[in-house]
Symmetry: C2
Subunit: 529 residues, 2 copies
């Protein structure tokens, strides 16, 4: 039946063939053209042996072919696997082999990494190259399309639980896990966003965050396509190019990770554009201070700044903060979307009263059915019928959710829980601090103790002693960081989240360097503190 994601595109191609679907670097694809290209690609891939259930990995920077591949692959009943292009070779080999990827779609820019891993992936039978200068030995995307132009192929019939997409998340375990996203998961996510934001065919979303991430792909791009609207794609983030595109294309909404918002607001010349077409901007991840939000809202005068919380396992967007509550409930990520049930529970899955932090658990039709070939991780995550997010939060008396921490980012010191966010907040209160992240360091007596990584603002000076004194004045003794390391920048993932995992990996070494009589931080020299 017409439940295939490719059938959704076909539906709009049937009803409104001339409507704009994708805009990218001067190219404009109507729904009719998009559908033709996807059917040609599906025919080409079928001819090369691709069939229902096969996995097709996508290692591309943002481009129309990224979306076309997903649609064409789905048309055959096959499964798209967007891959983070920041992964190193070993991670890529693991994902391609674990998923048994049959076909990899990539481009010239990634030829070295593709060639390095190709021989180590026995299931991988083809590499398909997008764009110009496709390396020898790869299939050429544009040639396949030309060869199969005008060919038609029916969409494979799929049901609600059939697999639309795989996405690997690194999360907390040693190896990344493959999140299985079904058609039902995707559509219920779409419906939640469509009803919440009033997304219609008149909407034009800007994709500037990476398409391999649920943020770029689903917050809310897939919803806009589902509603028959248009997506404008940028290959990379560049503040003024972004604003120029918004103005030219009358963009109505977008997802901007916190890192991009920061860079955007710090750029010169941002006030020269008409950005009044933007109805909403979705953000999520870190808390933004009120002045920054106000600056963002001055820049986009009609926009609803929707702080959100979501996970790959739920196809993004589980809670959103409503427009009217932007300032009143600042720091909150809002309330659950349609058809999603959210609880904050203790370790026995019992709901906790307001203000008491516990693990956030979720239930509803947009929640994934499990991890690919990993029944143990699936059973652990989906126990008692609820998805256990591993995130710690609390609800206020009115049901607004506040994220406290990743469960694994909670520091347990002498039996006491320390929310790293609470310590970070104190550090951020010092106007000289640009960024701060607190993690646990193994300790022989306390199990763990908190330590802080701090980035000082350019041209500013601050000492570890000053920051420790501030913490001592405002926090219980056991929460005061044992070490404060100054570094140049916090490690972040592409969606802007701080990679505390990386900090934890280096914390022992940094502490040892300090103990060896070095400065209080190996990176301190970078800041004249």
């Amino acid at each position: 039946m017409t439940f295939n994601f490719s059938s959704v595109i076909e539906h709009y191609a049937e009803r409104h063939p001339e409507r704009e679907a994708i805009i990218y670097e001067g190219r404009r694809l109507s729904y009719g053209q998009l559908q033709e290209r996807c059917e040609a690609l599906a025919c080409a891939l079928q001819e090369r042996g691709l069939k229902a259930g096969d996995i097709v990995a996508i290692l591309l920077k943002n481009c129309p072919e990224f979306l076309e591949t997903i649609i064409a692959v789905n048309r055959l009943g096959a499964v798209a696997l967007p891959v983070n292009w920041r992964l190193v070779g070993e991670e890529l080999v693991y994902i391609l082999n674990h998923s048994e990827t049959k076909l990899l779609v990539s481009e010239r820019e990634f030829a070295p990494v593709v060639e390095a891993v190709r021989g180590r992936c026995p299931a991988l039978s083809h590499v398909l190259g997008v764009g110009a200068d496709v390396p020898a030995g790869w299939l050429v995307y544009d040639e396949l399309l030309a060869a199969h132009q005008g060919q038609r192929i029916a969409a494979v019939e799929v049901g609600s639980d059939d697999l639309h997409r795989l996405m690997y998340t690194s999360g907390t375990t040693a190896y990344p896990k493959g999140v299985m996203i079904s058609y039902g998961n995707l559509y219920w996510k779409n419906i939640a966003q469509i009803t919440l934001f009033g997304i219609t065919a008149a909407d034009r979303t800007l994709i500037v965050g990476p398409l391999y991430h649920v943020g770029g792909l689903d917050l809310p791009a897939t919803s806009v396509l589902y509603a028959g609207g248009s997506v404008v794609i940028l290959r990379k983030f560049e503040p003024l190019a972004l604003l120029e595109t918004v103005q030219r294309e009358r963009v109505t909404n977008m997802w901007l990770p916190p890192s991009m918002i920061n860079m955007l607001l710090q750029a010169e010349g941002i006030w020269n554009y008409d950005l009044s077409s933007v109805r909403f901007i979705i953000d999520g991840g870190e808390k933004m201070p009120i002045p920054l939000i106000q600056k963002l809202l001055s820049l986009f005068p009609q926009a609803w700044f929707a702080d959100a919380y979501g996970l790959t396992e739920t196809v993004s967007g589980d809670t959103y903060l409503d427009k009217a509550k932007t300032i009143e409930k600042i720091g909150s990520v809002g309330k659950p979307c349609l058809h999603l049930e959210l609880r904050v529970v203790d370790e026995n899955d019992r709901p906790l009263p307001p203000r008491q932090p516990g693990e956030i658990v979720l239930r509803g039709p947009k929640v994934f059915k499990g991890y690919w070939k990993d029944p143990e991780a699936t059973a652990a995550a989906l126990r008692n019928g609820w998805f256990h997010t591993g995130d710690i939060g609390y609800l206020d008396e009115e049901g607004y959710l506040y994220i406290v921490d990743r469960k694994k980012d909670m520091i347990i010191s002498g039996g006491e829980n320390i929310a790293s966010l609470e310590v970070e907040r104190v550090l951020y209160e010092d106007p000289r601090v640009l960024e701060a992240a607190v993690v646990g360091m193994p300790h022989p007596r306390w199990g763990e103790v908190p330590v802080a990584y701090v980035v000082v603002k350019p041209g500013q000076t601050v000492t570890a002693e000053e920051l420790r004194a501030a913490c001592q004045a405002k926090l219980a003794r056991f929460k005061v960081p044992h070490h404060i390391f100054f570094i140049e920048a916090l490690p972040r993932n592409p969606s802007g989240k701080v990679l505390k995992r990386e900090l934890r990996l280096r914390v022992a070494e940094d502490a040892a360097a300090t103990a060896r009589g070095g400065s209080s931080s190996p990176s301190q020299s970078a800041n004249p503190a």
Copy 2:
């Protein structure tokens, strides 16, 4: 999980308690108030023994309590059964007993019919009376709400296939059949309408068609509630009151059956209102002539007149004609909605080429799962995985659907198919003809022969001979009506469809009267033809 229809209302009551949900005769209910009332009612009904799976019939004119009952009953996992208040006692007894209705919600106006049937329905334990002057022996709606005010009750967990509603259709069989509408059916219908019309929380729909009909309830009222918008309810149709309400409440959309459109456009004083808020009007049933459509669009200058085709079995709205095609494709009901597959097939379910009429069959998540306690009718209707609508239509080369006839309205005369619509079209070409309906009459030699019922315009004169001559000039001989009966009005159902069943029941008698030497029509005297 939060899949209950009552959970949808609760969702908006949580997020936007102050938003208007229902407007009716000076009353304005916010989502917060609506939710409170529905929970109080659910508590009251639970206390009186209502439980999951029970059937609650609703015999009410349009009012907020109609919707509240559906929501409250769903909250308990019970099933709402809207009943056509035009039914006679015998039909009502059949439906209440066949469905094993436990509770009937009604009002003073229907006290005589309720009291007449109550004793013959053994499963019926309570009658609940809405409004003033509730008869003795009935529960009183307002008293229940007052007694349980402020009480909370959680929604019963339901799944996609669980029963949301029952609706009896008379259709073609001797007894009405109970269409089982699941939550999934309802929501996929909503999603199709929301994406097609861009329905958002800003929409305000007017309900003026009867709420016991999928038109009044679902085209698109339930979709507007699903999107968190507002519904304005009128108890009855009155042209100027309707227009005044549209103007005052800034109504953005509505369903208007053809009969109402006709009456509206014929009324005096319709040009004195600001009706620019109306974005779309859904219609369906009979073809409207272009001048009438143009008059409607002059009256509602911003409106999209969306001609539609749908059935109770699919929760309404299967195909819609797009705005840009209103005139170009006049007479077509458009293309299928999202996630709905439509075919025109022969008697062996083989798809037919363009322009060739056959039975319309449908497939998709909004198609019902069967008739209540009627496995035979279910198997007949849902054979080979497709819902067989019993309607005859054809697709043009571009995939636009045209309705030819009800399958059972096809007249088979000497082995030849006669589409009654084709004959009616010729009759309508005479400017003196107001209405015409052609049905088959049993005939010893030909099996059936076509006969016509005609309503002449007031003050006009036409003879049967003149009309037969016109038919002879334009139709094959076997298609020319054997009799032309003049009557005062065609029998119609509440949504404006001509009840050909009733004409077929009387045709033999009318023909006999003619044969006995009466006038060529027993009703002819009503028109000075």
